[in-house]
Amino acid sequence: MLQEKVKGLYRNKPGIISFAVLAVIMLAGILAPVLAPNDPVLVTLDNRFAAPSTQFPFGTDHLGRCVLSRLMYGAIVSLGSALLVMTITITISIIIGTLSGYKGGWVDTLLMRMGDVNLAFPDLVLTLVIAGMLGPGLANIIIAMAAVQWVWYARIIRGMVLSLKERSYVLSAKVAGTPGWLIVVRHILPNIIPHVVVLVTINLGMVVLHISGLTFLGLGAQPPTPEWGAMLNDARQYLRSYPRLIMFPGTMIMLVVISFNLLGDALRDVIEFREG
Amino acid sequence: MNEQVVLDVKDLHVSLPSMRGVVGAVNGISMQITEGKVLGLVGESGCGKSITCLSLLGLTKEEGWVIAGVAKIQGKNLLTLGPEEIRKIRGKEIAIIMQNPLTAFNPLMTIEQHFLETIGSHLLLSKKEGRNLAGRYLEYTGLSQPSKLLKQYPFQLSGGMIQRVMIAIALALEPKVLIADEPTTSLDVTVQRQILCQLARLKEKVRTGILLVSHDLGVIAQMADEVAVMYCGCIVERAPVERLFNQPLHPYTKALMASKPKMQKKTLQAIGGQAPSLLNFDGGCPFFERCHEKSCCCSHYKQELVQYDDKHWVGCAKFAVKQRMLYYEPA
């Protein structure tokens, strides 16, 4: 079963390519301390806006910092924080969603009411406001995004649990006297997780977009941290004379978002096709 | 004979592409629909009944579909008409009653809007005249309070009511031919009967020729004047209704009759085996695999209808003229 799915994924070309792209970017980020040609935060004012050269393959920015190095270090900040947001979000929402779906009771009522209120806000507004109250900073943005998003995921997971709860194998496990936590671990979670993985992959692109957007506004990673949204913000004043400074981080963000979307679509085709 | 043939179908073929080759869905069927008479088309599901109906209305024009043959109505061949010409015939000359009345109506529109758009597509009538026409035909189909009904939405009506509405819409333009594709299959048995009686009465009134498609022999026996038995896209037997029920000739027809539930028999007789795949159909006897009466020469028999007597036609090797000669040939 699993092997078949892996094979199915293997045959899905856009899925494979986008996975490779993401892996390369992620690796470049992780290995940046070894691979990067220059120090990403080293300011050399007499070398501002240098054209691409062997020393600075992508040139330098308005403070004479190496663009390629900043892009590489930025990968880990942009992608890493997106992954962190998703990890926090999913951990909370699996725990609460499963509890609420399986046990019901006050957790369930509370979750549903919170969901109603959460849905009444445009996501970006709530994130912006929470981040605004906490003050600028990458950590605060991560907290704000997780705080806004978990409710949505928890509600979806709750729905999945509710439908799984009525399946015959869960009912028979119950009749056989299997304790609730074991049913959840053995029968419910394994069935939920593939779908959650698909959801997460599709939405990771969105998270990357939002994080870089908020950083672009100045609310996320603070200078001189290399982050793609922040790099765009730095470059905006020099749009007329040095448009390439805009092109590099923008292309990176778009590449990552497209890759996550394609990978998510591929995963969904592979995982959800058979289960209909 | 003073009976006028209103729709004359000759050698209709419909084939469609599939992943593994060409599927012959309809393989050369011929039939005549006569004014004021009902031709019953009977057969198991998947034998090509619905595709036959749709191709007569020019509604099978999908990519790769090949339709051949002649279907003449008032001297025009339906199968070669351009899109606008066939549109003018649909609903006006040939009307249809569909299988699932509940899903056939646009949920966002009132019954009146359905009526008016149909009438308006073919006649130049004012809204008021259209409304009157609609009301009159709704009354004919036995629906009370037509003016109230016209303002209602499809989801507010029951299955039986909406099927009557469909009949009213179909007959309002006094078509030459009415195709009734499983008109009562999705309805309760009690409602079924009422609807069929209504249809029989209206047939007399409008003098429409009806092509009644059903897999239900009971419905066919009750309604039809003549019956054509369809199997795997071929008509295997055609006869007046009483003749067919009393003296079926084709082994498939016999098996079909035997599978009808009877009071005195405890068990249902099923037809053994499965219908063959219509992929790359070669024109041989489609019932060969399941037939209890097959003989050596059946395997190279080509499916065609031969006249058994005055009004009875059958497509089986046993009755084929050429093949009959084969029987007597010494081995």
Partner: protein
């Protein structure tokens, strides 16, 4: 219809209460003492005494529930307090900036409609043709494009290189083109896809076949039977999108120096102007909820099943 609207409005009451509760709690996320921030912004040294005075003035010493009810009472009377920075009523400030944002969002909405309806309809009708394929690829890219980056690309090409349109500020209609387009493209991509799928679903419906069988003209079938049904999920999503556009304009307004709520809120965040942030959240949520209500009402006028469902 009246009953539907009434039911829908009554169902908003608990949601609005939830919104108010959440917004009230927000101010307690602030890691520092708002009173101190207030004093600093007012150029007053935050001595213990001064802080104590301000805290009392803001009602921060009262029990939490008391604070909530006091605050709610004021909010119901549209009093959101005063900005720490300008010392003007927040509500007046928001209403001052809001028209520009609304203007921008409405223009984008128009662009979204102008793109997504024709493109969605035609790519469904001409499914799998070159036109459809190109539109699908563009829609996919459009949905993945960061709006702030897209805006720079547009500014660079149309404004700096070709000198066709003004890049910054608000004033003439020409000023509106770039920000509205930037804001619109992402949503247009989403809607084109949604409408295409929805059209294809409805094209396969039995009622379309029946409409053809009744001899209706193809144009009439597409418009009245397919498009009208296909628009329902799109309209429902539209209420959401307009809200997201009002929110998403934060970035676009900052790029294009558009004097709307979005720019105001970002500068307020940097100024730690907490009453403004709080009011902004409440204001946007209420606008969002009302837009969704509006979308539901439009749907009900389109779809008798929603309108009459309960009365059957």
């Amino acid at each position: 219809m009246g009953r539907f609207v009434a039911r829908r409005i009554i169902s908003l009451v608990p949601v609005l209460l939830g919104i108010s509760l959440l917004t009230f709690v927000l101010i307690h996320l602030v890691p520092v003492d708002p009173a101190e921030v207030y004093l600093r912004l007012s150029q007053i040294p935050p001595t213990d005494e001064a802080v104590a005075v301000i805290r009392a003035e803001m009602g921060l010493n009262k029990p939490l529930h008391q604070q909530y009810f006091d605050w709610l009472w004021k909010v119901v009377h549209l009093d959101f307090g005063k900005s720490f920075v300008t010392k003007k009523p927040v509500m007046a400030e928001l209403l001052y900036y809001f028209p520009a944002t609304l203007n921008l969002a409405a223009a984008s909405l128009l662009i979204v409609l102008l793109i997504s309806i024709p493109v969605g309809v035609f790519s469904a009708l001409y499914k799998d043709t070159a036109f459809d394929q190109i539109c699908r690829i563009l829609a996919f890219i459009g949905a993945s494009m960061p709006s702030f980056w897209l805006s720079f690309v547009l500014i660079y090409i149309l404004s700096l290189e070709l000198n066709l349109l003004p890049a910054f500020g608000r004033g003439t209609l020409a000023h509106l083109v770039l920000p509205a387009t930037t804001l619109a493209l992402g949503a247009a991509a989403v809607y084109t896809r949604l409408l295409r799928t929805s059209m294809l679903e409805n094209l396969n419906q039995n009622f379309v076949l029946y409409a053809r069988a009744r001899g209706l003209k193809e144009k009439l079938i597409v418009v009245r039977h397919v498009l009208k049904n296909a628009l329902i999920p799109v309209v429902i999503a539209f209420g959401m999108t307009l809200g997201h556009m009002l929110a998403g304009s934060v970035i676009v307004e900052n790029v294009f120096a558009w004097p709307g709520v979005g720019r105001y809120i970002v500068s307020s965040i940097f100024n730690r102007d907490y009453p403004v942030i709080q009011a902004y959240a409440l204001f946007m949520a209420v606008v969002f909820v009302l837009l969704n209500l509006f979308a539901d009402i439009i749907c009900a006028t389109l779809d008798p099943r929603i309108r009459l469902g309960g009365d059957k």
